[in-house]
Amino acid sequence: MPKPAESGHAADVATDLYERSGAAAYGVGAEQFTAILDEILRKYFDPVPNSAHASAEQKADFCAGLRLEELALARACAAGNERAWQDFISRYRQKLHGMALHITRDGAHAAELADSLFADLYGVNARDGVRRSKLVFYTGRGSLEGWLRTVMAQEFINRYRKQRRTVSLEEQTDEGVQFAAADPDPARASDQRLEAATDEALAELSSEDRFTLASYYLDGRTLAEIARALGLHESSVSRRLDRLATGLRKRILAGLRAQGMSHAQATEALEADVRDMRLNLRSRLTQDYEATTFPDSSRKVPARDPGGGSNNRQKP
């Protein structure tokens, strides 16, 4: 956001945005709100070198596209405005629990997740004596509700991974992990040439195509879920997957032949690989990073219950 003093037009825009946001009702002043918008603009425009020279119009359009009303609410809550909190609670408290249940699929964990998020939002955990609400990170790009869901999902994933690492041997025995087929040594199982050809074929795909492939085959998402994430129709996703699978196959075979394999050899390499497959998609898709996936600058909620449902998202 250009400084309001720069031109009369910019000031008009700023006033307009401020009025639309209804921030005044939560005790957020016009200058304060403009400062918030400035901060958001810096976040999204300045780190990108090419768009450093984004025009004032671009920035104004960007601001106009934000969820101003929800942004005002969130920031007012973060600032500790009473009325904003009342509004927030009446709007989202119930929904938060619904979201948590949807994400965890388990009543006890849902309550825990929702409560801990609520504590984060309220900023219970003071750092340096300063209460800091997680809501200051909301920038109004998407809906506040969607943001809450995403934050919760990230928290859940972080927590789940933490718990998964501490699964006891007994639990593993209970679920038969030790009987799982040994993962064939990747180096041995897959020919270097096959790997190279596959990487090449994958690299040729657009990121959206790779996202679709990974969501469907690795993550086991439904067509409907992928379609909604991409804003497409289910049948488009289905067609795309068909096209991708066929195309990949062709390209890998072509890549293998280019490396000196005969057609029969190439086909065999691909087929033999399929038969070797022993994989539990769900359990293998979660990659074990040492680092926390979604580093939370405000604080980390310790996993309180590493027992019971730690594996509740694994396939049988």
């Binding site: 979201m99 990170f137 998407g142 995403t150 497959m277």
Partner: protein
């Protein structure tokens, strides 16, 4: 849908997010190695609110980062994915196609539209061929001559009519069977009388599931003993899978080829009592079923008025089931994992989600094609077609509604009538419906 080779999975999985960092990652999220798009960007992505450039950046990351993909999927609004049934065959067999390339699952094959039509065409061709080759045979509605002989011999019981069977059991085969069955009959009588004298009670040992009809007829069990030539362990022949038999019943009825060997109300009043006509046939070749019929027929004719025929006469209905329907009935298994109802078409080797409600599912029950699933806060879903389509059921009576967690579902009933459903819920509530879920009673 086409599967992808395993190497594709491996390489997709091997891809790590640090190779593709979206430039717009927020400063506070930028870790030493992982720069995940923050919740704002992910939300805006899922809500289609990003500019094209930003969207590409996020997608680039998502293509490599399973965690962010999961976060997006988990954060999809719950309301929209209530009760997503497994849409079509292609969706249903998705999980299998990865692993079962070598097994050549016929279901997988049919998931391809082209093959579906090809299968249809092949079916038409087969029917046409049969009509061309054996036009006369198919038109012979009355039973083959051998059968008639037996029927006359079996006077005064009106001979049960065996409809032309779709199984290639030609008259010659039947005659062979018949002679065999004559011997078998005598053996059966002998054995039966021995057992009766000894006061031995011959009852089926199989634990009956709801809806199974047990043949209480001692004579029948004795017969069955002989027929199946099994060790004399009582009703071994009756130890059949309930679902199979029910399924077979349906299959036969649907094909219209049911060789209903209904014993007509005869002069021999002893055959009255209760004529139950359920399937009592193991998944056996149809030939044996016919054999059973013949034997039953001759038996009843030969020993009219004997005390053995008293009590309950269970009519043997030979079940000529298509093998395919049996395979289906056998292999579909269900489970609930993490609140999602899943089913397996290959006896549990691979699973796919069949039903995901907005609240976690806790229990399920199935009865033939009827599948019920219950979950938290009164969630109750019903599928009448084996899980292909689902409808939410909200049991209520006099302004009271089922609102507590459904912990157990019991479905019973025979194949014809509406099933009786008993739903146990928290707070010791028991809801039951006698008409397949239309009206409910609360206990």
């Amino acid at each position: 849908m086409t599967g992808v080779p395993k190497i594709v999975y491996d390489r997709l999985r091997a891809a790590r997010p640090e190779r593709a960092l979206p430039g717009r990652a927020l400063p506070e999220r930028t870790g030493p190695e992982l720069a995940h798009p923050d919740a704002n960007l992910l939300t805006a992505f899922a809500e289609q609110a990003l500019s094209a450039a930003e969207r590409d950046g996020v997608l680039e990351h998502l293509a490599l980062c399973g965690d962010c993909r999961e976060a997006i999927a988990l954060a999809l609004p719950a309301a929209d994915i209530v009760a997503t049934p497994v849409a079509a065959a292609s969706e249903a067999v998705r999980a299998t196609k990865i692993t079962t390339k070598a097994e050549s699952n016929w279901l997988t094959a049919f998931s391809r539209p082209g093959l579906r039509w090809a299968a249809l065409a092949a079916g038409v061709a087969v029917v046409a061929a049969v009509l061309l080759v054996r036009p006369g045979k198919l038109n012979q509605a009355p039973p083959p001559p051998v059968n008639q002989q037996v029927a006359t011999a079996a006077q005064p019981v009106p001979g049960p009519q065996i409809a032309p069977s779709p199984i290639p059991s030609s008259p010659t085969g039947q005659s062979a069977v018949l002679t065999k069955s004559d011997e078998a009959r005598q053996k059966a009588e002998l054995q039966l009388s021995r057992k009766l004298k000894a006061g031995q009670i011959v009852t089926p040992s199989h634990q009956a599931e709801p809806g199974i009809l047990i043949a209480g007829n001692k004579k029948d069990s004795a017969q069955a003993d002989n027929l199946s030539a099994a060790p004399a362990t009582g009703a071994r022949a009756f130890a059949y899978d309930a679902s199979t038999s029910r399924r077979t019943t349906e299959a036969v009825e649907a094909s219209g080829a049911a060789p209903a060997v209904a014993l007509a109300p005869s002069a021999e009043g002893n055959l009255m009592a209760r004529n139950e006509t359920p399937a009592i046939e193991k998944a056996k070749p149809a030939l044996q079923g016919i054999e059973a019929n013949e034997q039953q027929k001759t038996e009843t004719a030969a020993a009219p008025g004997s005390a053995t025929s008293q009590a309950r006469n269970v009519t043997f209905a030979a079940k000529l089931a298509s093998p395919a329907s049996q395979v289906l009935a056998h292999n579909v298994t269900w489970t609930i994992t993490a609140g999602v109802l899943q089913r397996s078409l290959d006896s549990g080797q691979s699973w796919q989600n069949a039903l995901r409600a907005d609240r976690p599912l806790l229990c399920y029950a199935r009865h033939d094609q009827d599948v019920w699933a219950g979950g938290q806060a009164g969630t109750l879903f019903h599928s009448a077609d084996g899980g292909v389509t689902w409808a939410q059921v909200r049991p209520s009576i006099r302004a009271q509604q089922l609102g507590s967690d459904v912990t157990h579902i019991d479905v019973r009933g025979d194949a014809r009538g509406p099933a009786q459903i008993v739903v146990s819920a928290g707070n010791n509530e028991i809801w039951s419906s006698a008409d397949g879920g239309k009206t409910w009673e609360k206990k």
